[in-house]
């Protein structure tokens, strides 16, 4: 079960991220999760939002290069070893994790891990066999 993440190219320039968040605020788009990976020159912003299509349209209209990337979202128990348990399963199935980021759910004692893997199908199967459930896109929105 995959989730749509939006990836955006950003130059490492003062105020560039704020300009983007300003565009999202004006369009009333809510970010559920975010991660920013960067080098000295540029960065890639990865966000999970409530309205993917509209968000991409807003970003493109504002002149950004934005792309939808399929990732998986996994609910993890908010306790020591929670993430490790998942990584062990993926590692055992020889699945490569390109990157991941997480956020903690306030409503319950759980964290959500957003994960980009090289083989989503295989990862889904391995997690399922281990009794770990991935979160569907529509469920993620309501968390």
């Amino acid at each position: 079960m995959s989730v749509k993440q939006i990836s955006v190219f950003l130059e490492n320039k003062k105020g560039r991220l704020a300009e983007l968040t300003d565009a999202l605020e004006r369009a009333a788009i809510n970010m559920r999760a975010l991660s920013l990976a960067d080098t000295a020159d540029f960065g890639v912003l990865r966000i999970i939002v409530d309205d993917v299509e509209r968000c991409v349209a807003v970003l493109k209209a504002a002149g950004y290069v934005a792309q939808v990337t399929e990732v998986i979202a996994i609910e993890v128990e908010d306790k020591p070893g929670g993430l490790h348990h998942i990584l062990k399963v993926l590692d055992a199935a020889a699945i490569n994790v390109e990157y991941l980021y997480a956020y903690v759910e306030q409503s319950k004692a759980a964290a959500v891990v957003i994960c980009k893997v090289d083989d989503r199908g295989k990862a889904g199967d391995a997690l399922k066999r281990a009794g770990i459930t991935t979160i569907a896109a529509d469920v993620l929105k309501t968390l």
Binding site: F42, V44, E98, Y99
Partner: protein, 432 residues
């Protein structure tokens, strides 16, 4: 299509005889009527009686732009001012402009060579020519205008800029031929897409692009986005404007209209005339111009000549697309670098649109060349590693071509200034 079959397919022997005749007449006129040229000929020793055939041209003095500027405004006139019907000048961005003054006969020749140019890409009476070259002192606008008139095509003198209106005219008037700078062609295509125009459904069939350096990859980009045949044209104000040379539909070098403009290639350092295929500076002599004729003008454009017959039937010498400028040439760590070489490399990498800029800086006595390339949808990845790998790949390919290390930097779309005229590709921050 060949506009003037008689002159454009003249056997080379006859062409040389015609050129010789015209050169003798030119040298005679210049010696008698233009003190500027008489002084130069006296200084060097080659005078009218010594010139009997076209090959004797090597005995005559070369002329530089700086020398021509010194006799601004009317020092190059070979006729009485009352014979002049129109004046154009070079941009004058680097000093006093060079004046090109046309007699009625010169305008007639200009119309002819521009008709030949437009005909290479198939322009005919029924065509609608959207002329987005600037009208004014710049020769691009009126040169195309006269050529289109000579053919009998419909010309829309829209001039440069105002992209929204260009897009509307393109759609509403069903323009079939576009003329502008190559960078503006891409800018226009981008504008048309933003207006929601499907470029595969316009009536455009051909485009004539010049007035700035461009590359084979940029041509492919223009042809693919605008769905046209893109013809490279060449000319310069000091000679006549556009109409000095044009590609034919084979797109294999630009045919120089040699019965009017005699080409030579010289070594820019020594002035020695080079053979066919040897890269050097293009030198042009106007064989038929009467208002301000020009003797052995150093164009500062780097190219080479090919006098072998072309499959199109034209017998004229072909010049390779301009490889660079003697004065735009960047010397980086002692290596001669032409922006066009860098452009070829970047554009060869799939997915990169030709929006780039070169920034040269000197750090700790060492020149550094940064190549900024705008990000686009096809090049983008959500993985940092892949983006960095793309930068490294471009750096490696640039090293393979230039033999110097560069730093490629990906920048956001539209962060590099777009020009509606000539593209500003190089920023040289070196303080020497």
């Amino acid at each position: 299509m060949i506009w003037d079959t008689e002159h454009e397919t003249l056997p080379r022997g006859e062409l040389a005889a015609l050129q010789g005749e015209r050169l003798c007449r030119l040298v005679d006129v210049l010696y008698r009527r233009v003190p500027f040229y008489r002084r130069k000929m006296d200084d060097l020793g080659g005078k009218p009686p010594d010139i009997r055939a076209i090959d004797d041209i090597a005995l005559l003095p070369l002329t530089t732009k700086d020398e021509m500027r010194q006799v601004y405004p009317y020092g190059l006139l070979a006729v009485d001012l009352k014979e002049i019907v129109e004046i154009h000048t070079s941009s004058g961005t680097t000093g006093k402009p060079v004046v090109d003054a046309y007699t009625a006969g010169d305008i007639d020749v200009w119309s002819e060579v521009m008709a030949r140019t437009l005909a290479t890409g198939g322009t005919a009476r029924h065509d609608i020519v959207q002329n987005a070259f600037g009208y004014g002192l710049f020769t691009g606008g009126l040169g195309v205008h006269y050529g289109a008139h000579r053919i009998g095509a419909t010309v829309i003198p829209i001039s440069g800029g105002n992209t929204k209106r260009q897009v509307a005219v393109l759609q509403d008037f069903k323009s079939s031929v576009l003329t502008c700078t190559p960078s503006y062609a891409l800018y226009l295509a981008e504008g048309a897409r933003e207006e929601g125009l499907d470029l595969s459904k316009t009536c455009l069939k051909a485009g004539f692009f010049g007035a700035e350096p461009w590359s084979e990859s940029m041509r492919k980009e223009i042809e693919a986005t605008l769905h046209i045949l893109a013809i490279d044209i060449y000319g310069l104000t000091e000679i006549i404007g556009p109409g000095v040379a044009s590609e034919c539909e084979r797109q294999d070098g630009l045919h120089i209209f040699e019965d009017h403009f005699y080409p030579e290639i010289i070594d820019p350092a020594t002035g020695k005339v080079l053979g066919d295929g040897e890269k050097g500076e293009l030198v042009i002599t106007t064989l038929t111009k009467t208002g301000t004729p020009v003797l052995r003008y150093r164009t500062r454009d780097i190219t080479y000549l090919d006098r072998r017959p072309c499959a199109c039937g034209r017998t004229s010498a072909r010049m390779h697309r301009v490889l660079g400028r003697t004065d735009d040439m960047l010397i980086i760590r002692g290596v001669n670098v032409f922006p066009s070489q860098i452009e070829e490399v970047i554009l060869a990498i799939e997915g990169v649109e030709p929006h780039y800029q070169l920034v040269v800086e000197r750090r700790d006595q060492l020149d550094e060349l940064e190549v900024q390339v705008e990000m686009n949808e096809r090049l983008f990845s959500d993985e940092i590693g892949k983006l960095e790998a793309a930068e490294r790949r471009m750096e490696e390919m640039l090293y393979g071509t230039l033999n110097i290390h560069t730093r490629v930097k990906l920048v956001e779309p539209k962060s590099i200034a777009r020009s509606e005229g000539k593209a500003k590709r190089v920023i040289d921050k070196r303080v020497l």
